[in-house]
């Protein structure tokens, strides 16, 4: 592909805190792939789970505001690494196809709501717009010997009619990227299961059970690491892994990477710019086993 890809970039709140390494690595690999990301000026929170639980109009207004910020940049497509942000953007766009709903939303905004902006996840532009071949061509240090399970979470592809990306039950986007990087990908059967999401705060036992099952199954399948595309999934599996171990009596020590971090490693980018040190479960042994020693990091 010769024409340059250019998108408005909407990082989402997690990117400024718990998933800063997802943001760093997304920017780094996009730069490496000649994908231009321009930050949306003065973006605000998508409202996350609380907003749409309380009020659909308010939730959509938050997304609509961000979409009109994108439109003011003169760009037609926006990209976000976070599937939850994307889900809110897409749901707002879907709801605003209804004229009376759109008018209600517009009343809350300074400018009328814009529904023409195309919204995609970083994962989606990588497989659909950039293409796996271009990714494969960028690999300088293949991840040979690394066995991973790709875990998409429950909202990356669903509801299918709103997200309109990959297979709703058996997505392959990340699997294909990982294979292109040279990693071995196990046929992970729970790739679209829920990790427990924000129940980590009110009902920790739910996350212990659901995320615990993900880790158990990944280990059974022989995965050395899990690869995720969602800040909340990553946090539940990574930061809470010790809690899960003590709640379930398990002894997992499984690194939980963002897929963008592994792409960066394979592209030869430095661990520092990919935020590898931000991961809670230390990935050192897994990375060292790749035989990358002696090569510049």
């Amino acid at each position: 592909m010769s024409c340059a890809l250019s998108y408005a970039y909407y990082p989402g709140c997690s990117s400024t805190g718990t998933s800063v390494e997802y943001d760093m690595s997304s920017r780094a690999i996009c730069a490496a792939l000649d994908i231009k990301l321009s930050d949306v000026p003065d973006w605000s929170c998508c409202g996350s789970t609380p907003a749409h639980t309380v009020d659909h109009t308010l939730s959509s207004a938050l997304s609509a505001r961000n979409l009109s910020q994108v439109a003011s940049m003169g760009l037609t497509a926006a990209v976000t690494p976070c599937p939850s942000c994307l889900s809110n953007l897409r749901t707002a766009q879907h709801r605003m196809k209804n004229d009376s709903f759109r008018q209600k939303v517009s009343k809350l905004l300074d400018r009328p709501a814009d529904i023409t902006v195309e919204t995609k996840s970083v994962l989606q532009i990588l497989v659909e717009d950039c293409g796996v071949d271009r990714i494969r061509a960028k690999v300088t240090r293949p991840l040979t010997g690394l066995t991973v399970a790709a875990y998409y979470g429950c909202i990356m592809n669903r509801p299918a009619e709103i997200m309109n990306f990959d297979d709703r039950e058996h997505p392959m986007a990340m699997d294909n990227i990982m294979a292109a990087l040279g990693a071995t990908v196990v046929p992970f059967p729970l790739k679209v299961e829920c990790c427990g999401a924000s129940f980590g705060i009110p009902r920790r036992d739910v996350v212990m059970r659901l995320s615990g099952k993900l880790l158990d199954t990944a280990k059974e399948m022989g995965a050395m690491a899990l690869v995720t595309a969602c800040p909340l999934c990553q946090m539940n599996l990574d930061m809470r892994q010790e809690q899960i171990n003590s709640a379930n009596g398990s002894q997992h020590h499984m690194p939980i990477f963002y897929f963008t971090q592994l792409m960066g490693l394979a592209f030869g980018l430095s661990e520092k710019e990919l935020g590898i040190d931000k991961l809670c479960v230390n990935p050192r042994t897994v990375i060292d086993a790749l035989g990358m020693e002696g090569q510049p990091l």
Partner: protein, 652 residues
């Protein structure tokens, strides 16, 4: 002409949104109209009597009935006017129900539209002429397409009734889906024991000609005189010599051919007889897998065959059959369940279809009647059945209920316990639809006597866990999530229209619904007829059916054909094209455009002219719009008649 107009209330169907009295009053002012009235039910006996009386008392010589669609009652009223001594074509029908009252609520607008439609009909009627039918000979042979249980029943009933029957079957043996079943519900009697003798009867009946491994290529003609081109596909075996000994199968080195009969459980040889009870019991070569046909090397079956019947150079052959009636009994296909990602979309070998399970249960099946997991051959302990796979599911475009899966699932749960007493069956269901005779009792037996655990709810996910499968679903009665360890999952796959059903429908000129099932003449009153005269339906091609219903329809279709053939001659429809020989310039354009070959060239005092063969003409009217001279006119739809309707409508 003195025209009588009868405006029907159809109870409140029409009167509810059309002022029928006003329509009748308006009609009295139309040219030629001598009498007009509105009646409660024109089609009822007093309603018809009113027409007969009016014709006699008012000396009417034409009648317009404004009521429902002509498909409903045109025949009824034509007979009524005939009874009063008028020619049946001096009658017109204005459809003010389907075209007016049912589709609009504005009473005034509806009334005006109804008046317009009646005005058009009356204007046309002024130009109608009496038309007379001709009698023609019929060929009392019947073609039956499809050799499943419905087609077999129809064939045997017709043959017993003294008719010559031609039975065409797509695969190399008759028997259809029923031949693949192990047992049948609700009696749990052996399927091949009850079907086998019927299949033998078909083979031995002197009145039945069987074309197996054949398909319908072309259909021409009309009721009483169809001409059907049958393509006999190359089997590479001379069936006149083949004795069905099966030696070729034991020696064929190509042992990885798809076993269609066994639904892909196991493999078969490239040359094969699909199953031991096959009728005809003849071998055929599956060219896709034959080494000789693919690579030119091998030829073992030719060397080994004791009767020398192998012929690698055999080509498709075409035979033409002349018949008077056709019964379509083409059955159904299984829904392709791999669209369900949540069931693994075909990735897990131990998730199988109900028909595959049926082959596994069958003593003559690929596992010799032993239930074995396809992955490792182990006997399963927990068998999970999932119902409504491709039934009652809008998300996969199959909103209809297949109707027989509840029953066969109960049967399979019972058989599972019979085969493996230590096993446990679980059935995920939506509702249990067991509405036949002894059906509900049967499903209760599965639960109460055979310990099948029924769980009301859908399955959301199947995934491998170790060497077993984990099935997760909802128990909507308990309001909980259920997770079961399964060794084998059997999907109760629903029925869909058979592959190629649409193409065959177009050849037969019959209609089909949005799912590809053939349309019956009337959903209640003409269940085995179609809207094409002489073409009948039997079995699941019309909609999913269990065995008793398919057999009933087979017999019903046979009864219809026997009824049709009880007459020696049929009356032709006089609504055909006629050539005005004075205007015809013999250009021949009509002959080229006629899709039925119904126009021939004649020599008229040394001049070339066209002539319509009345028995072949279908009255489509293509020739009339082609003729540059306006010399060809379709009777009952002449240019003058149609233009008078247009003028009546566009008078302002």
């Amino acid at each position: 002409m003195k025209i009588g107009v009868f405006v029907c209330h159809c109870g409140s169907n029409i009167e509810g949104t059309v002022d029928t009295a006003a329509v009748a009053a308006a009609a009295r002012e139309f040219p030629g109209v001598a009498f007009a009235t509105d009646t409660m039910y024109t089609c009822s006996e007093p309603g018809q009597e009113e027409i007969v009386t009016a014709i006699k008392e008012q000396q009417l010589d034409g009648v317009v009935v404004a009521s429902c669609t002509p498909r409903m009652h045109e025949q009824t009223f034509r007979r009524t006017v005939e009874r009063a001594g008028l020619n049946r074509y001096l009658f017109e029908m204005a459809n003010i129900r389907e075209h007016v009252s049912w589709i609009g609520k504005d009473r005034e607008a509806n009334t005006n539209k109804a008046i317009d439609l009646v005005r058009m009909s009356a204007a046309k009627l002024l130009h109608n002429r009496p038309l007379l039918s001709k009698k023609f000979e019929i060929n009392k042979r019947v073609l039956i397409i499809g050799g499943g249980v419905a087609g077999i029943q129809a064939a045997l009933d017709c043959a017993e009734g003294g008719l010559q029957v031609v039975l065409v079957e797509k695969t190399s043996s008759i028997g259809g889906k029923m031949a693949k079943l192990d047992k049948t519900f609700p009696t749990v009697d052996c399927s091949s024991c009850i079907l086998g003798p019927r299949m033998v009867d078909v083979a031995q009946h002197p009145n039945i000609t069987l074309h197996a491994y054949s398909e319908i290529d072309e259909v021409s003609g009309y009721v009483g005189n169809f001409e059907v081109k049958v393509k006999k596909k190359a089997t590479y075996v001379d069936w006149k010599k083949c004795t069905g000994c099966g030696v070729c199968m034991t020696k064929c080195p190509s042992r990885k051919a798809t076993d269609y009969f066994n639904e892909g459980i196991g493999k078969t040889t490239a040359i094969n007889i699909p199953f031991p009870q096959a009728i005809p019991k003849k071998a055929k070569i599956d060219a896709d897998f034959c080494m000789k046909l693919q690579k030119g090397k091998c030829g073992i079956c030719e060397k080994i065959c004791p009767t020398g019947c192998i012929d690698y150079s055999q080509q498709d052959e075409y035979v033409t059959e002349k018949v008077g009636a056709i019964i379509a009994a083409t059955g159904f296909d299984l829904f392709d369940w791999t669209v369900y990602g949540e069931y693994g979309a075909g990735r897990y070998p131990d998730v199988i279809t109900s028909l595959q399970y049926e082959r596994m249960l069958s003593a003559s099946g690929p596992t010799g009647g032993h239930i074995k997991r396809p992955s490792d051959g182990r006997e399963p302990k927990n068998v999970v059945f999932i119902q409504c796979v491709g039934s009652r599911d809008k998300s996969v475009g199959r909103p209809y209920c297949t109707g027989f899966c509840c029953m066969y699932t109960a049967k399979q749960a019972i058989l599972t316990k019979d085969h493996l007493p230590e096993s446990r069956s679980y059935v995920f269901y939506m509702d249990i639809r067991a509405t036949g005779k002894n059906y509900d009792e049967f499903t209760r037996r599965a639960m109460e006597e055979y310990d099948a655990k029924y769980i009301r709810g859908r399955v959301s996910m199947i995934y491998p866990k170790g060497d077993r499968l984990l099935v997760r679903g909802a128990d909507t009665l308990m309001g909980t999530q259920v997770e079961l360890d399964a060794d084998l999952v059997v999907l109760a796959v629903g029925a869909q229209a058979a592959a190629g059903a649409n193409q065959l429908a177009e050849k037969l000129r019959i209609s089909y619904d949005s799912y590809g099932f053939y349309m019956e003449g009337h959903p209640k009153l003409k269940p085995v007829e179609t809207n094409t005269a002489g073409v009948y339906l039997a079995g699941s091609c019309q909609g999913p059916k269990d065995i008793p219903s398919s057999v009933s329809q087979g017999s019903a279709a046979a009864a219809k054909v026997l009824g049709l053939f009880s007459k020696d001659k049929l009356e032709s429809d006089p609504q055909v094209s006629m050539v005005d020989i004075k205007r015809c310039i013999g250009c021949g354009k009509c002959m080229k455009t006629c899709p039925f070959g119904a126009i021939k060239e004649i020599d008229f005092r040394g001049m070339k002219k066209a002539e319509v063969i009345e028995t072949i003409c279908q009255g489509c009217g293509i020739c009339t719009s082609t003729c540059p001279q306006g010399a060809v006119q379709l009777q009952h739809f002449t240019d003058n008649q149609i233009l008078s309707e247009v003028n009546a409508l566009c008078q302002f």
